[in-house]
Symmetry: C2
Amino acid sequence: MMSTLKSKILVVATDLFQTRGINSTGVDTIVAVAGTTKMTLYKYFISKENLILEVLKKGHDDFQSWLSEQLNTNSKKPSEKLLKLFEFIEEWVTSPNFRGMGFIKASAEFPNEESPVHQLSAEQSREFRQYICSLATDANIKDAEGLALQLSLLFEGAVQAEQMKRGSGAMKYAKKASKILIDGALSD
Amino acid sequence: MMSTLKSKILVVATDLFQTRGINSTGVDTIVAVAGTTKMTLYKYFISKENLILEVLKKGHDDFQSWLSEQLNTNSKKPSEKLLKLFEFIEEWVTSPNFRGMGFIKASAEFPNEESPVHQLSAEQSREFRQYICSLATDANIKDAEGLALQLSLLFEGAVQAEQMKRGSGAMKYAKKASKILIDGALSD
DNA sequence: GTATATATATACAGGTCTGTATATATATTT
DNA sequence: AAATATATATACAGACCTGTATATATATAC
C-alpha cells in the first residue's frame, strides 16, 4: 500500500500544479503545504520531474476509472454510453473539486516534444480519444475514429475554457454539440 | 514607427515562448537569440511581464486582422463567412509558421485569475468568441451566442491538439464538425 | 531495551532567474 | 567637430530553484 505521506504529497502537488502552475510551484512549497520536508519528498520521488509524472498518471487514472465506472453502471446499450458521455463529463467539470485536466496544462508548460512530461501528456490525450473511439465502435458508428476525434476536441476545448474561467458553462454547450455530432454519426 | 529592435525582440520572444514555454524562457535567452542585450530589452519593456503582455497582444491582433481580412475578401454573404471560417483557420494552423495560439498556452502557464497575463488571455478568448458571434448574428442564426461558443470550443480544442502534436490533422475534423453545427443552426 | 526504519530539522552547494548599475561604443544631428 | 540619442559590454545584487549532506528525533519490531 502507498504510504500516507506519499499520497498526501501527490494530492497537494496535484492541487498546487493546477492552481499555480507546475513550473511556478517549488518543492519547498509542496512540502510546506503537505506538512513534511524535502527529505521525505525525495525519498518517494527521485526528482521533481518524477513527481510531475506521477501526479499526471494518478490524475488520469482517477478520471478514467471514475468515468468508465459511471458509464458502465448507468448505461447498457453502447449508443447510450456515447450519448451519456458528456453528461458525466459535465458533472465532473462542474464539481467543486474540479481543478482542470492535468495533461492539457502540462503539455502547455512543456511544449518540447522530447520532454517526458510532454510525451506522457500526449499519450494520455491519445488514450482518452481511444476510449471514446471504443465507445463509438461499440455503438456501430461508421467513422468511429473521426467522431472520437471530434468529441475529444469538444472535450479539450471545453476543459480549456473552464480552466480559463470557472463557471463558464462551456461544457453545457459542448454537451449539446456532442449530441448533434453523435446523432449525425449514428444515422450515417 | 516601432523600432526594429523592439519588433525583433517581440518576434523572437513570440517564437521562444511558444516552443520552450514562457516561464522556461529567460530574458537572457531572448536577447541572445535576438542579437541584442538586456539593457536594450528593458528600454522597450519595463519588465518581463510587460513583454509577455505585448507578445500576446501582437499575436492576437495579427491573427484577428489576418482572419477578418481573409473572410472579407473571399466571401460576401454572412452565412458564407461563417462556413469558410474553419477553412481559413485550418490554413493558418497548417502553415509552417504556426506555433500555437498565444492565449491558450499563456492561460495554462498563468492559472491564477488575478494574474494580468491570465486576464489578458481570458479577454482575448472572449474577443475571439465575440467575433464568431458577430458572424453568426449577421447570418441570422437564432442562438448566435450558443453556436459561437460551440465553434470556439472546437477551435480551442483543435489548436490544443495541434500544439500537442504537430500535423495531427485535428483541424480537418474540427472543420467537418463546424459544418454540421453551422448547418444545423442555420436551419433552426 | 536495543535495533531498525521512518520522518524531521537545518543548512548549503550550485545553478538560474529578473532587473539594475556602470562604463563604453556607435551612429545621427546640428 | 561637437552634442545627443541609441546600443553594447559586463558585472552584480538579491531572490528563487533543485537536490543533497548531516544530524536528530520518533516510532515500531524483536
